[in-house]
């Protein structure tokens, strides 16, 4: 059997994160010699899903500064709580992004056939957290309406505001065309909130609803970017069934997609190795020479680096809190219309200022909470996993306390006579992501993407660019090859039903 060094590889891919894995999927029918390695002993890298045991090793590695891009990691198990199941019963996602129905990622999963191996659950309602009016009352959650039927049903918005909201929804659905473009393009780069106030006379409450639908982490998303996300949300609504606009891969979010993609790569002949990374790179020669941690010296035509850069200066970090809750929080996952599937993900937004830190300071940025029921496969029945995310203001440092505060307030808002208990907490800070996807000749670099709540399709363009580099010979010979990107016909035995 040939050793790794004997083979002249067409491409060595370092890291099994989502982008690298999608590249492996894209190349899985190409007959290229592919070596796909990951220095971790698990798949997924930045998009991995961790069991409790893996989470603890991961935290230890972060604390030992062995995970660039991550810091301030810790695990807490609150005293006196019971009910935490065995470690493998949990799959905590490092990248719990949901995917809008319209996303190009889903189209690629379908055309490549990989979707058959992924199970999806529906993302249901979006809520706004409302602090209590006075100390004697509980905080509440208000559902954000995003369809006409939602707006009809809500009792939270007065009639006139409803009319304004309907006009805005109608505007966004057609925002790419005239005369709508004349209205917003001059204001493309001002904050969406200003645009809403100026052109639609929206009050604060409605502005908050809309910015939440835009999933803006700093609350200051521009008109152009905001309209893009909201348009995607609205046009995704109902695409795969009534009552939902986005879906989420079971068993750990994007990690599932990475794993399925690697599996496809392996079936296509790629060689996989975990626990082995690239130590040194010499890409000033051709072929590129790599030295692995195992000692092997590899020659390859192209090399895809792992995405490990420290963040860009000035781009805020995000703090995340992953909490396991000992209750199924059923009320959050109710279907509101006939025929809709039971959702397994609910989103709660805490607008800036709606919660305060321990020293009384009001939150500067919104906090987003994604609640996952056991239907996501991430925890046992009767429990939930909560993922809280917020930007870290530069001067303040990690926002663990704020996120804990948000979690506690949330649990209070959904409590009846008992407040649901938190059984486990994992918190960490992640850099704001790096810039500069790029290539030096045949060395391809995927940047670390900033944290977002929904999957951002722009990551896919870089995967395609990388694919073109690896396939450059074939494309030069026959341009038609490019059109078949991620379009595969079934292998002989893939005759399963087409139901997702």
């Amino acid at each position: 059997m040939e050793s790794l060094s004997d083979t002249f590889w067409d491409v060595v891919i370092s890291g099994t994160g989502l982008q690298q894995s999608l590249l492996a999927l894209a190349l899985s029918r190409s007959n290229k010699k592919i070596l796909h390695i990951d220095k971790n002993d698990y798949y997924g890298h930045h998009e991995a899903a961790l069991s409790l045991q893996e989470a603890e090793s991961w935290v230890a590695a972060v604390q030992a500064h062995a995970k660039p891009g991550y810091s301030h990691a810790s695990v807490t198990k609150p005293e006196g709580t019971t009910g935490l199941s065995f470690p493998r019963a949990y799959s905590l996602a490092l990248a719990p992004q949901f995917i809008h129905a319209r996303s190009a990622l889903l189209q690629q999963l379908v055309s490549s056939g990989a979707y058959r191996q992924v199970e999806f659950v529906a993302v249901g309602s979006f809520f706004i957290f409302k602090p209590p009016q006075d100390a004697s009352q509980k905080p509440t959650l208000a559902r954000i309406p995003s369809t006409r039927e939602d707006v009809f049903a809500t009792t939270d918005i007065p009639a006139k505001a409803k009319r304004g909201l309907m006009k805005f929804l109608k505007f966004v659905l057609d925002y790419e065309n005239s005369p709508q473009t004349e209205l917003w393009q001059p204001d493309a780069n001002i904050p969406l909130t200003e645009f809403l106030s100026k052109q639609f006379k929206m009050d604060n409450q409605l502005q908050t609803y809309i910015t939440t639908l835009s999933l803006s982490l700093d609350g200051k998303i521009t008109t152009k970017d905001g309209l893009t996300v909201i348009h995607r949300h609205l046009t995704s609504m109902g695409m795969y069934g009534p009552g939902f606009a986005a879906i989420y891969p079971k068993w750990g979010g994007l990690s599932e997609i990475a794993q399925v993609s690697c599996r496809a790569g392996a079936v296509g002949g790629a060689v996989y190795m975990l626990g082995n990374g690239v130590k040194t790179v010499d890409d000033y020669t051709s072929p590129i020479e790599l030295r692995l941690h195992s000692g092997d010296i590899i020659k390859t035509r192209a090399f895809v680096e792992e995405s490990d850069s420290i963040g860009v200066i000035g781009r805020p970090e995000t703090t995340r809190l992953v909490a396991i809750i000992g209750s199924d929080l059923k009320a959050l996952f109710e279907t509101t219309i006939e025929g809709a599937p039971v959702p397994a993900v609910a989103i709660v937004a805490f607008p800036a200022g709606s919660i305060s830190t321990a020293d009384g300071k009001a939150s500067e940025y919104p906090v987003y909470l994604s609640v996952h029921s056991s239907d996501t496969g991430e925890c046992p029945k009767g429990q939930c996993v909560c993922y809280l995310t917020t930007l870290t203001p530069q001067e303040s440092g990690p926002q663990d306390h704020l996120l804990t505060q948000a979690l506690d307030s949330f649990l209070l808002s959904v409590s009846d006579d008992q407040v649901p208990q938190c059984l486990y907490k994992l918190s960490y800070t992640r850099s704001g992501g790096s810039d500069g996807d790029g290539e030096r000749l045949f060395t391809i670099h995927f940047s670390l993407k900033p944290v977002t709540l929904s999957f951002d399709d722009s990551a896919l363009e870089n995967v395609r660019k990388a694919w073109k580099i690896v396939m450059c010979d074939e494309i030069m010979r026959d341009e038609a090859v490019d059109k078949d990107y991620m379009k595969f016909t079934d292998r002989q035995n893939a005759a399963e039903d087409d139901e997702t």
Partner: protein, 409 residues
Amino acid sequence: MAESGASHGIARTSRVRSEEQRQKDLERIQKYRTLEDQVRQRAADKQFDSETFQLTSKLLRLNPEYYTAWNVRRRCLISGLFSKLLPGSSCSKESSSTSPRDTTTACSEESSSASSIPTPGRPDCQTTGKSGTTADDDLELIKTELHFTIPLLLESPKCYWIWSYRLWVLNQAIERLERPVARRIWEEELGLAEKMLSKDHRNFHAWGYRRHVVAQLESDALGGGSMVEAEFAYTERMFRRDLSNFSAWHNRSRLIPRLLDERGATDAQRKAFLDKELNMIREALNVGPGDQSLWYYHQFLVLNLVTTAGKPTITPAFTLEERISYLTREIEEIKVLLEDYDEDVQLIYEALVDYTLYFSRLEERKPTEEEREDLVSWVAKLKELDPMRNGRWVDLERDQGLVELLPGH
């Protein structure tokens, strides 16, 4: 497979056929013709037995629109496959429920050659078919027949003959089976109607079918009581799913008179009911002023105030003052919509015109000066928004004597 003529929205493509394809088609046509001839011959010879029955299965799968074949099938069932009904003995089969079931090879789940092979007769059975089938066999037969229609319906969901046959089979259930058994079958049918509606919740055929099934379930023949409350709640679930659902709103309006009667609603309760419905439809119009289905329902409610003679109304006890006050309020509320909606307004103006004219009806008079000025401006708007129907608006001006108020007169 024969091309069904009853599917909407599926384009017929003309195929360019290869010689091989053409040969295959000729063979298929030959097979079909042979099958058809067999069935017709046997029917002409009055051979309504299980072999004919199986032939109709094949024929109908190729061409479900061949209604004669459905009739032949019915006759096979009545002539021997079903147990014989004693005169006046429907729904009274006490003994059959005690006789042990004979194993038959007939009760296959596959719809293909579904026929119940008659079992050896049991002389002590009260009802026996030609070859001794019992009521339990009838149940199985009915179930298999219903099952047989399903793939045909999936392929040709609007083929009247399939639906007609299905209804006939369901009626056989009423005639031949014990009441609770028959009822269960019809309840399952309601489930099917609901599935159809959830696939296409604006399919008015499905709504009509649902009404029929509900009517049967409510009838004495199935020992039923009124389902009006459940049906009323169902219409609400449907329009909450999609406001723009003519059938749901229409069904709702049809249920109201009976609903209020059965509730034994007092005048106060009727007023409260009307208030609630008006509030709800106004909320709907507030988010969907361009939606005609909503205006139809609103008009239905408003006409309740205006029409007095003969028809059952929601609030028969309203005085003239009350009616005028309600009508005035509705018009005011509609005007508020114009504050924000500068598009989608045609139906708003139409409603304003219609409802203003209702005053005249109520008070048996002609429109006042003020009303006429309003009407002129609204009709002018309508001419602007809907120039294609200019003739209609011009007629309206003339009929209401508005011409003299137009500029230039």
